[in-house]
Symmetry: C2
Subunit: 712 residues, 2 copies
């Protein structure tokens, strides 16, 4: 790729960013858009939906930037919980490491690369003088001693990243513990989920759960709730909800009614007829729901799963850690999710079925990854205009226009890739949901992992190897040759990934601010929605946004010594993300669940993977550049990094899996002093009742806004 | 290898076996050898060391075979505990699967192989007509439909083995649970080991352990014993023991004294002088020991480890499962071993040090494996006479003698390999002991694993690949080519492995019966040992014998469809082992510890590995034989086998790691009815006191015989 093509891409994206920022600054002040730009504030009641017109509304202002900048970590904690803090720390962590790497590579490596003359010698005729390659390591001569600067930079940056990773892991685990200490009693701390309950012919599942746990833990067992089959009730309830909305529309908006029916048929009676008809239908459904609900309480509708609550956190943890039954695949225990976090639809039942569905999901993921390669390969073809001309000869005349060719080579490929990648997070979330997880948070955590490795594979590896060879799978079957093949292929794709950072990073972050899709939805829906109608405060899509930042982390770590030019673009992206996500924390998102920092181990693992990949590439590069001592001396680095990771796994990971006896007992001892405990126990007994089995409510006033735990 | 060379080997080994059997039948009746052949019975007091002479003693008899045959499983359980049962079941399991495989392969595959004519066509001139290869799969023509018999046999035998593995795992885990239910209260069930106790400046480790656990578990905590540095006391005690033996010798055997000193110096006074000198020295040492023991009770001699006992099994299990402290690498918990099973010398201290020593041991194991290859490669060279002649031209005249060449090609190679392999189990046991394990049983379990993978690598893979290529490591760097390379190399070594089964299997089992090394030791030591002197009943070396049987299992599983001739030899070996080990159970071994069947998961994993290896070879063989449909249809089999293994891991493995809450609580509830419990608690408090800190005993009457747990 030539510099001008890159500049075209940067230009387009900068313009888009400025446009999005301006539009946002303007549109956010329009009360009609409050639901799009500050749903959180509306739900919390701090912002009204309508306000009087004033002139200020028409002038874009940047006050929100300052407000977002001033947000402290404790405020983030109270706004979005510890998970929000973890995401923000991921961004600041990336900012820190890439600032450090940036200083080294821009001040030292870039001059070294530029002063090399390897490329000039080889094909002076072909190089237009503006190729990006002169900024990369390719420009340094084979066997040159200047390469020792790159070598030292790799060691230095690895050391710095590992140090920062350790510090961050330590900080977040301490935060997690203090979060636990400061939290009020919560149902999920006192509860476990039991699955694969054996079916007994003599008694119902509810009875056998009760007798089993009463027998085992007579002093600490509190209560249980058996999960029931409620999918039919759920669908009836959804239908009732829709009808209820329709009826309330008819009631509140006679003009619309008149317009629609009055004008066409001229019969006023029609309106009340229609409402009566809907109301009758709704009554029928409600009757049906009540019938089904009473049916669901029968033993026949019990699944082999139950929530079992205990009188203390320690008792629940004991019951979870010590397998209760002799047969390990019966009475399997899990930590309970928060009541709002329970994922009811796929409470799949037997041990074997869950296991098979897990295997099926793995196979589907692999197939999906393979099929996804097709558009990626096509996209990669676009960056080489000559290939495109061979494929579509009729395009030749268009492609000779400079602007078109620059847009196509610089902007289009990563845009197409980005559009295809948009559909990955929902697909992966769906796959995780049928894997048998019982909570939304676990589904999103699993989806986060899936999306991460999917993008690493399909963006990084597929792009790197499809340029040179389609069969990247076969490369991993010859482990010996991996470093060399990576060393050849990775630097060649530097310019594509710079463009990718600019397109995918810059634009997607600004469009996150502008919330283009919710805005369009809101504009379409607006005419048919009442003012005080229910609306949902969105939750933060960790499974979409964490993998994205981590992919940029991977790009930064692997390219910082190959093509230092990538770092400034990356830093701009991170700064944008820093401000924009803080603003969205304030205005848009509300937490749906709280994993208390369980996303951080994913971040840590991904960073370690990026480091080791970078070392493998470095081994290959130094071998290719005929500096075999450096190549050999690079080998201990991945080993040390993996040992460091192993140490961190032992030192910190257990804290993210379960709380220690010390913490649990300390927390339990505070309870008797708490006057609210009796009330809490009463609530705990019914906390895990399936929402489908609760008495039918009127459809309004059911905003799904969840108060953050700390403030409650 | 030609048939006659194999027959030579079989002949030599059969003769050796008969010789060993006859000698054993004769020597075991001589009272002088009772200590070698029935130490267990002597220690138990059922056999006297001296008896009157009668003629029967000079006639070899086979009564012991019938006695060993009649031994029931419950008797084995009472003799050697569940571990003894597991080893015997490994042999009967192998007998079952290879009988099944043997019937199929001898009745179906062998005729198919013999009726093929692939080898005759290719090199009729070279084949002497007596090559073993005509019995192997190599003799079947490429692409022949007869190969479908081999294909079906692979599926059939895999299915049968998996079925048997499942049955056996289920049986042994049930046995383990019933063993637990029927055992009397034992100290290790009530105790955990705590390591990495943080050092506090204000109080001693003992105090901090006490306050920590009293605070966490006020109702269930019973007592603790901090481990102290006693290596110096231990060495003094050993010295004292030796001196004590020397003094008692001087006392009891004046003739020897007279002979030694009286004759040479003619001074009677010398004897009492020498005894006085020794006694004074012993008193000094004992004084010194008492001094050191009182020093050891000071805080400065405390290590960061302690045994913490609880009032119930459930409380101990809870403390083990729930990590006690917030920091996961402090206060790390382990299940306590039995008091006699504790391995005191290497109670290595900090978390980091243990971790590093573990890494060092892994590196040493790898280096040891690589260095070990040198003799193996040399041994392999011997089987190819032509190579030997090229290396040592002066041997040519000797090698032309038929008998010499047959001994060298048929017998010598596997004998040399076997001698080198003799040193592997002690080396691996030493390596495991410095890895930071705290019990003899864990050391042997770890050594068992090490020996297993060492022999698989250095006997199987090194033999298979050194014949064709020295660089077998490089083969594993190209995973795609593995099946094909195995398919070429494995069948070529069939005759070597048949000879190996005969030499290593038959002879080593008979020499186990004959106990050649203990016999020689006893003959050397006899003159200088008193009649009622202490002697040690040997414990069963699981880490030596389980890997041996498993290696033969690997050979049987991988070769049953390639060279069915191996199976009869294997079955003879297993029958020999069945009788001989039962006899040794009765007469020789006493249990040193009880893992309650924890060796079985090693057996299971090894069998699964053998199956998958066999499938990979089958994939390669069918591809090589140009029956690509069979090759493709073979691919699902390893996948199914691994899924089966995964299921077994979930279904059974947890039962071998820890007992369930249900079992523990059920067992605890029996305790209050037991009158012995008060006495037991008193014993429990001092059960884990370091033997070096106990008051000095007189050195006699300290037989280390351990009564099996069930009979106590």
């Amino acid at each position: 790729m030539i510099v001008s093509a890159l500049l075209t891409s940067v230009g387009i994206n900068t313009a888009l960013c400025v446009l999005f920022f301006t539009l946002y600054s303007l549109l956010r002040k329009q009360p009609g858009n409050y639901e799009v730009y500050m749903p959180r504030l509306i739900a919390a009641g701090t912002s009204k939906r309508r306000s009087h017109f004033n002139l200020e509304r028409l002038v874009p202002s940047a006050g929100w930037v300052a407000k977002a900048w001033r947000l402290s970590e404790d405020e983030i904690l109270s706004l979005l919980g510890l998970d929000g803090v973890v995401y923000m720390r991921l961004i600041t962590f990336s900012l820190k490491i890439f600032s450090f790497a940036g200083v080294i590579s821009i001040l030292v490596l870039l001059p070294v690369n530029c002063s090399g003359d390897a490329l000039e010698e080889i094909d002076f005729a072909n190089v237009t003088g503006s190729s990006l390659d002169i900024f990369t390591i390719s420009n340094v001569k084979d066997g040159s001693n200047w390469l020792w600067f790159h070598f030292s930079a790799v060691y230095l940056v690895t050391g710095f990243i590992c140090f920062m990773l350790y510090k961050e892991y330590k900080y977040i685990s301490a935060r997690r513990i203090s979060y636990f200490y400061s939290s009020p009693p919560q149902p999920h701390q006192f509860t476990i989920v039991v699955r694969s309950i054996p079916i007994s012919s003599s008694c119902s599942i509810s009875e056998s759960v009760d007798s089993f746990f009463k027998d085992l833990y007579p002093t600490t067992y509190l209560s249980h709730v058996v999960v029931r089959r409620t999918s039919k009730i759920q669908s009836l309830l959804n239908e009732a909800k829709k009808l209820g909305q329709r009826i309330s529309q008819l009631q509140s908006d006679p003009s619309q009614q008149n317009h629609r029916h009055g004008c066409f048929f001229g019969l006023f009676g029609r309106k009340s007829n229609l409402r009566d008809h809907y109301e009758k239908k709704l009554e029928d459904i409600e009757e049906n729901v009540r019938l089904k609900q009473s049916e669901a309480s029968l033993a026949a509708q019990e699944t082999q799963a139950a929530f079992v609550s205990f009188k203390s956190r320690y008792a629940a943890a004991t019951a979870f850690h010590l397998h209760p039954a002799v047969n390990p695949i019966e009475w399997t225990t899990e930590q309970a999710p928060e009541p709002d976090d329970v994922y009811w639809p796929f409470f799949s039942e037997s041990f074997m079925r869950r296991w098979i569905s897990k295997l099926v999901v793995i196979v589907v993921c692999i197939v999906f990854s393979i099929l996804f390669l097709i558009p990626v390969v096509f996209v990669q073809g676009l960056t080489n205009l000559s290939e495109l001309e061979v494929l579509f000869p009729f395009l030749k005349s268009i492609l000779t226009i400079t602007v078109v060719s620059q847009v196509i080579t610089g902007y289009l490929p990563s845009l197409i890739l980005q559009l295809f990648l948009k559909m990955v997070p929902p697909v992966m979330e769906f796959l995780s949901s049928i894997q048998g997880y019982i909570s939304q948070s676990n589904i999103e955590k699993s989806a986060c992992n899936k999306v991460l490795w999917f993008t690493v594979w399909n963006v990084f590896f597929a792009t790197v190897f499809s340029g040179s060879a389609l069969n990247q799978v076969s490369i991993f079957l010859e482990p010996k040759a991996i470093p060399q093949k990576l060393a050849v292929a990775v630097p060649a794709q530097a310019s594509f990934f710079i463009a990718y950072v600019v397109t995918s990073g810059w634009t997607s972050t600004s469009s996150e601010l502008f919330r283009i899709i919710p805005l369009i939805c809101s504009l379409i829906r607006k005419p048919c929605i009442r003012e005080d109608d229910e609306f949902e405060v969105p939750s933060f899509p960790y499974h979409r946004d964490i993998p994205r930042v981590l992919l940029f982390g991977l790009l930064g770590i692997t390219y910082f010594f190959l093509a230092p030019v990538i770092l400034p673009f990356l830093l701009i992206y991170l700064c944008l993300a820093y401000i924009i996500y803080r603003n969205q924390y304030i205005n848009v998102y509300a937490p749906k669940y709280e994993t208390a920092g369980k996303f951080w181990p994913i971040v840590h693992n991904s960073m370690i993977f990026s480091l080791v990949l970078m070392h493998v590439i470095a081994v290959g590069i130094f071998a290719l550049k005929k500096l075999s001592i450096a190549s050999t001396l690079m080998v201990p680095l991945p080993v040390i990094t993996l040992l460091f990771n192993e140490y961190c796994r032992k030192r910190f990971l257990p804290m993210f899996v379960a709380y220690s006896a010390e913490s649990l007992i300390k927390k339990d001892r505070e309870d008797p002093n708490d006057a609210r405990m009796d009330e809490f126990y009463d609530k705990l007994v019914i906390a895990y009742k399936d929402p489908a089995l609760r008495p039918i409510q009127s459809p309004s006033n059911t905003t799904t806004f969840r108060t953050p735990l700390l403030s409650s």
